[in-house]
């Protein structure tokens, strides 16, 4: 619960700071304030545009989701029947795959900014492949665990391992479906690169974020 | 206008209801008068606020309501900082005035007195049992996995500290007057809650952990224990009682209860001796325990011996067969008196050897109409196959004398059975039997039970789970 509490504090602080910058203390009925408010142009308040703002909000929701799982993990650990899990070393390799995937997206984003369609195609391909490699590696890690007789019901640490990696994988799969749509559009051609650029940018942010989530989960699994 | 008057009347009415209400705290029987005081304090503070704001609102409506034809106009009044801060300060003081005493009393609740006696309350679906630590003052270890018919408390047989623990395998607890008690709360299955309304304090029982609460009984008497955390279908029937007694009466009671070592030492019955003793029973209940409707003797073969033994003791102790209208139960009292504890054990051992044959149906009813009630409610304790469950103190019903089920359902409903204070589990059945609206409902139910075949096992749970 403490992790989630901390997260919410941070969220509250961000909202508070941002609203403060928006002059939460303004008296909108006063003439002077009213004149100032008339200058407000409307639309984007975060200079992000709806898609970016929506994505960032969504990342906040996922953070709450995984944060609460991690809190539950910590609280479940306090029960005496807890026995730590020996993580398959394959996870290190998977982590490298996910980092490469994320890096490929970053590179693609640069290419899209420069309007280089060829490099965008290559970058998207690489990012997707590395992401798939990560997922395959995770499945392999599950199999290794299963083969060594560590099942979902064996002990809570293993149950959490399956659950957390599974949910993280599902989120990545969701990302891959957007990646698939973007890549298809890119290969079909016809879409202006400007539209593709936004998709690539959003994917990049999402990928970096999922990498962060994975590092946090992996870290939690390692230190416990 | 009407609204303003209605608001005033509601305020006056609420206050009047509060002071005239005959429904109020039951007289307290523990040391937690301070809890009642905090409640009363909260009533005063919130009551004043309730009256003040609502009357002010009613007055505002009266005074500033729109009247046709008048050039009334509202005042433009975006805020009034001074007034708002003043209200915040007053509110905060009011809140603090309620919170501070509450926290002081809570500190006392959290801090259990050193000299508090330890008693364990054990909850399970849907009854209570209790354990005292015995002479060594320490409770022995227990584990859920150790629970069986012979070890319902789940005692660890290897723990020497548990040998002298006093086991109260029924939901009546006795406590001495004026002594602080720390109740340790343990659940075998799901969440429960130990509540004695007159003691004011309550706490959940949580499987997998031990929780506690403490109090000192201050009044002699018998008080009901209610489970106040939803624990399944028969939640409302999970009741027990606390009897607060003088120290001497309590000591006598405690000394008469068995220790764990004593319950273990009970010897198994001897079927050969049991057969001899059964000769008396045979006249009515039949040579193979098959029962005889003409003589109002139910079938015994195949019934759980824990259940039959308890009923025999109830007949002996006047818990059953004591009601004036229980004509046939009274006949049984004299026969039950012929058996001592060893005799009961022997007869049980003999009955277990008898063949468990099928019976012809004698009660006619619409089994399809009886099915929903059985499946949704009765099965929770008696099992989906009517096999009976020792864990819920529910006897077997399937392929037992159906006419007897009808009679007993009626007896439970009429209060002929299950109304004796010591018939704890009968009282649960009495609560349940009242669901049956009339004889037809009862016959339909029995007709459905008649469709159930001979159960395979008496111990299986009432529905299959992965």
């Amino acid at each position: 619960m403490s992790i989630s509490g901390l997260f919410l504090l941070v969220v509250a602080a961000i909202i508070g700071w941002w609203l403060f910058a928006r002059q939460l203390t303004a008296k909108p009925w006063e003439q002077k304030q009213s004149e100032a408010d008339d200058q407000y142009g409307g639309g984007a308040s975060l200079a992000l545009g709806p898609a970016r703002a929506g994505l960032w909000l969504f990342l906040g929701v996922i953070t709450a989701f995984f944060g609460l799982f991690m809190s539950a993990y910590r609280m479940r650990m306090m029960v005496p029947d807890w026995s730590p899990l020996a993580e398959p070393s394959l996870l290190w390799l998977n982590t490298v795959m996910l980092i490469l995937s994320s890096a490929a997206f970053q590179w693609t984003r640069g290419a899209a900014d420069h309007g280089d369609a060829g490099r965008v195609k290559a970058g998207l391909g690489a990012a997707g492949l590395f992401a798939l490699a990560f997922l395959a590696g995770q499945l392999l890690a599950w199999q290794q665990l299963n083969a060594s007789g560590q099942y979902l019901t064996s002990n809570p640490a293993i149950a959490f391992f399956y659950l957390l990696t599974g949910l993280h994988g599902l989120h990545l799969l969701g990302g891959l479906s957007v990646w698939g749509r973007t890549t298809a559009r890119m290969w079909r051609g016809g879409s202006p690169l400007g539209d593709i650029r936004l998709s690539v940018e959003l994917c990049t942010v999402y990928w970096h974020y999922l990498l962060l989530v994975w590092l946090a989960l992996f870290g939690l699994l390692l230190i416990t | 206008m009407a609204l303003a008057i209605a608001l005033i009347l509601l305020v006056v009415g609420s206050v009047a209801f509060h002071f005239l209400s005959p429904w109020w705290f039951t007289p307290i029987a523990s040391n937690w008068q301070s809890m009642d005081d905090t409640v009363n304090l909260t009533f005063w503070v919130t009551g004043i606020v309730f009256v003040a704001i609502n009357l002010f609102m009613a007055y505002a409506i009266l005074r500033y309501r729109h009247r046709k034809g008048t050039a009334q106009r509202a005042k433009y009044e975006p805020e009034n900082k001074k007034l708002e801060w003043w209200l915040i300060v007053v509110t905060s003081i009011g809140v603090a005035a309620m919170l501070a005493p509450g926290l002081v009393v809570w500190a006392r609740f959290v801090d259990v007195p050193e000299d508090a006696a330890i008693v364990e309350a054990v909850g399970q679906q849907w009854h209570w049992s209790f354990r005292f630590p015995g002479k060594d003052g320490v409770l022995g270890l227990t584990a859920a996995g150790l629970v069986t018919l012979d070890n319902p408390f789940g005692m660890d047989p290897g723990d020497p500290k548990g040998q002298d623990d006093v086991l109260i395998a029924n939901p009546e607890l006795h406590l001495p007057l004026g002594k602080p008690v720390k109740m340790l709360l343990r659940s075998k299955d799901v969440l429960h809650n130990f509540t004695v309304t007159q003691f004011r304090v309550k706490m959940d029982l949580v499987p997998g952990m031990i929780t506690y609460l403490w109090f000192s009984p201050t009044r002699i008497g018998a008080y009901e224990i209610l489970c106040e955390e939803l624990c399944g279908i028969a939640h409302f029937a999970m009741r027990g009682s606390v009897v607060v007694d003088e120290q001497s009466g309590f000591d006598t009671w405690l000394a008469s209860q068995p220790t764990y070592a004593q319950t273990v030492a009970r010897v198994a019955g001897d079927p050969v001796a049991g057969q001899a003793a059964y000769a008396t029973c045979m006249a009515c209940h039949g040579p193979r325990g098959e029962g005889n409707e003409a003589l109002h003797a139910p079938k015994l073969a195949g019934q759980g011996s824990w259940y039959l033994a308890r009923q025999l003791r109830h007949f002996k102790q006047g818990v059953r067969g004591a009601h004036d209208d229980d004509v046939y139960g009274k006949q049984m009292v004299a026969f039950a008196g012929l058996l001592d504890d060893v005799g009961i054990n022997n007869v049980m051992a003999y009955l277990a050897t008898l063949p468990d044959g099928p019976l012809p149906a004698t009660v006619a009813g619409n089994s399809a109409a009886g099915k929903p009630l059985y499946v949704s409610t009765c099965a929770a304790c008696h099992g989906a196959a009517g096999e009976g469950l020792w864990a819920t103190n529910a006897p077997r019903l399937a392929q037992m004398s159906d006419w007897y089920l009808s009679t007993q359902l009626n007896n439970f409903k009429q209060g002929i059975r299950g109304s004796h204070a010591q018939d704890f589990y009968g009282a649960q059945m009495a609560l349940m039997a009242r669901i049956l609206a009339d004889d037809r409902a009862s016959n339909d139910l029995v007709a459905y039970i008649n469709t159930l075949g001979k159960p395979e096992s008496q111990l299986s749970a009432y529905n299959d789970r992965p």
């Binding site: 939460l24 009925w29 009213s34 409307g42 | 505002a60 009044e77 708002e84």
Partner: protein, 586 residues
């Protein structure tokens, strides 16, 4: 100008072509709002009938053969869950949020219309999955709306096999639907306000719905987390919440899980959920009071701050639902303190509502009656909250009818009164016709007085010690016969209130065809939704040009102005605004 680029392009962004795309697969926020509202009200009626069945058993025990202990608890569970999640949350956010946000902030639609449409259909799916529970063997779960394990997934509870899984799956689907909608509402408020619409010029309805949605987005994941883990415990045999235990005499394979962990997660969602329902009600009622008292809402800034403070604090009070749960009793000190602190901003809101009436020009039309009725019931429910939030006072009252009466008063009756008021208020905008005033008043009086006759006495049953979730009280030595008579009278009142809702439904349908035509702004309100070129607003809301806002949402009875209201999109007049500043001083 940047504003033109963002807002005025694409006048008809996704113009509907056919009946089908216009009313069924519609991406118009107004149609989606109506779809959400009708579904929520329909499923709410199911929950109302369930509560009637419960009251029949409680008032007249064992008189009805179709109620047994098992399905009684199923009624309790489904009634609670439907009312809290599938009616109130969906209606306030999916219904009112969808309708009001774009109109009130001057947007053409939600920023993600397709996602918005999807949100409704996924919500409908959640409702259907929930209802399927009534038809599976064993029926829906009877574990209480809190779904506490181990009981919820063990034999001895109705629906422990299929019903509980359907419930958990339905909740999961609902959370997906809510997240799709919620991202829309928040992003729309942040990104699609029209020119001149600063945050502090937004009506409080938008503030309330906005903050409630933020709470929902952060709190619902807790429910999802607990639902996922409980589903695994139930189906695959993991031990997240399940300790070693003996069920019906048989030891099960679970070990080590923590039932209290579930309760922490559940209430980490569950308490903010109270405010997810309450904050939109707070916001909407503020606007109703202001419009019908022809006066600005008193202390607007304080009202906004209070909404933010309540929203923030609602995440640090969850364990006040768990004082007797067996958690570390030392937590009691912390949570009692935070809980009572939250009373301060809440009290501020009540004061400001009442002070809005003071010096007002109060038109007691039906929406206003409901709004004032809300203040009364909310004061009552809020004050009894001070009992239950204070750990020591909670102890004797916890798990009794006092709790039932309290939360029904504060998050059942009060928000529902606001819902009614809001429907009477906005119905003319939504349909172009007024609701019948006489029927509205009959509806108000019987509902308002009826619910008070239900819940006031119920508190006293709780003080007496009558436990909640009991199928029948049976014989006890401390509950007098008279308590049963009281229960019977509560049942009679409850049934009357239930039946009276027919008047409301009739009014809704009848007025749709026969109600007097409403002008674009029948109440003389300042906020933007009343300034649309068409009534009901057409697709895209604003015609060729978006509105421009020149003032806050509460310019009522400005000194010197001809009318007693100045719409938000009316350009400033130096003479008037001078009068306005003068008015403040005077």
């Amino acid at each position: 100008m940047a504003y033109v680029a963002i807002a005025d392009r694409d006048v008809h962004p996704h113009d509907p072509q056919t009946f089908f795309t216009r009313y069924i697969w519609s991406q118009d926020h107004k149609v989606i709002a109506i779809q959400y509202s009708l579904t929520a009200i329909l499923v709410g009626l199911v929950a109302l009938v369930l509560s009637g069945m419960m009251r029949l058993q409680l008032g007249f025990p064992n008189s009805f053969s179709f109620i047994d202990p098992s399905n009684y608890l199923q009624f309790v569970t489904m009634h609670g869950m439907i009312m809290v999640i599938y009616l109130l949350t969906a209606l306030f956010l999916g219904g009112f949020g969808n309708y009001l946000i774009p109109l009130m902030v001057g947007a053409r639609d939600m920023v993600f219309p397709y996602l918005n449409m999807l949100s409704y259909w996924v919500y409908l799916l959640a409702v259907i999955v929930l209802m399927v529970g009534f038809f599976v063997p064993g029926g829906p779960t009877g574990a209480g709306w809190t779904l506490y394990p181990p009981q919820a997934i063990l034999p001895g509870t109705a629906g422990a096999g299929g019903g509980i899984i359907l419930m958990l799956v339905s909740l999961g689907i609902f959370i997906v639907a809510f997240t799709m909608g919620g991202l829309n509402y928040v992003t729309t408020v942040l990104q699609a306000r029209c020119r001149g619409m600063t945050f502090m010029r937004m009506p409080l309805s938008v503030w309330g719905i906005f903050m409630a949605t933020v709470l929902g987005l952060l709190a619902f994941p807790a429910l999802l987390v607990s639902a996922i883990m409980m589903t695994l415990d139930s189906t695959l045999g993991t031990s997240f919440f399940m300790p070693a235990l003996v069920s019906m005499g048989e030891p099960l394979d679970y070990k080590g899980g923590s039932p209290v962990l579930f309760q922490h997660l559940f209430w980490f969602f569950g308490h903010p959920e109270v405010y997810i329902v309450a904050l939109p009600a707070f916001g909407i009622v503020s606007d109703l009071l202001s419009v019908h008292a022809r006066k600005n809402i008193f202390g607007y800034r304080m009202m906004v701050w209070a909404i933010l403070a309540i929203g923030g604090l609602s995440f640090v009070v969850w364990a006040h639902h768990m004082y007797v749960s067996g958690m570390d009793p030392y937590f009691g000190f912390f949570f009692a303190t935070t809980t009572l602190i939250i009373a301060v901003p809440t009290a501020i809101k009540v004061y400001n509502w009442v002070l809005t009436l003071w010096h007002g020009d109060i038109h007691l039309r039906t929406p206003m009656l409901f709004a004032i009725g809300f203040i009364f019931t909310f004061i009552h429910g809020g004050l009894t909250g001070l009992f239950l939030g204070n750990v020591t006072v909670d102890l004797p009252l916890s798990d009794t009818y006092f709790v039932v009466a309290h939360f029904h008063m504060v998050m059942g009756v009060s928000p529902i009164l606001v819902v009614f008021g809001a429907i009477y208020h906005w119905y003319p905008k939504i349909t172009g016709r007024m609701l019948n005033e006489t029927l509205g008043k009959v509806h108000f009086w019987l509902t308002f007085l009826g619910v008070y006759a239900v819940y006031l006495p119920m508190h006293y049953l709780g003080i007496l010690g009558v436990p909640r979730r009991y199928f029948a009280m049976g014989d006890t030595n401390f509950i007098p016969e008279s308590a049963q008579s009281l229960n019977a009278s509560i049942t009679v009142s409850a049934l009357i209130v239930g039946v009276v809702q027919v008047v409301f439904i009739f009014n809704l349908v009848w007025s749709l065809f026969k109600g007097p035509k409403a002008g674009p702004n029948p109440w003389g309100a300042t906020t933007l939704e009343w300034q649309t070129p068409d009534t009901p607003p057409s697709h895209g809301n604003w015609g060729p040009h978006l509105p421009v806002v020149y003032r806050w949402a509460y310019d009522y009875s400005v000194p010197g102005a001809k009318q007693d209201f100045i719409p938000q999109n009316q350009p400033g007049d130096p003479a008037l605004t001078a009068g306005r500043d003068h008015g403040i001083k005077g």
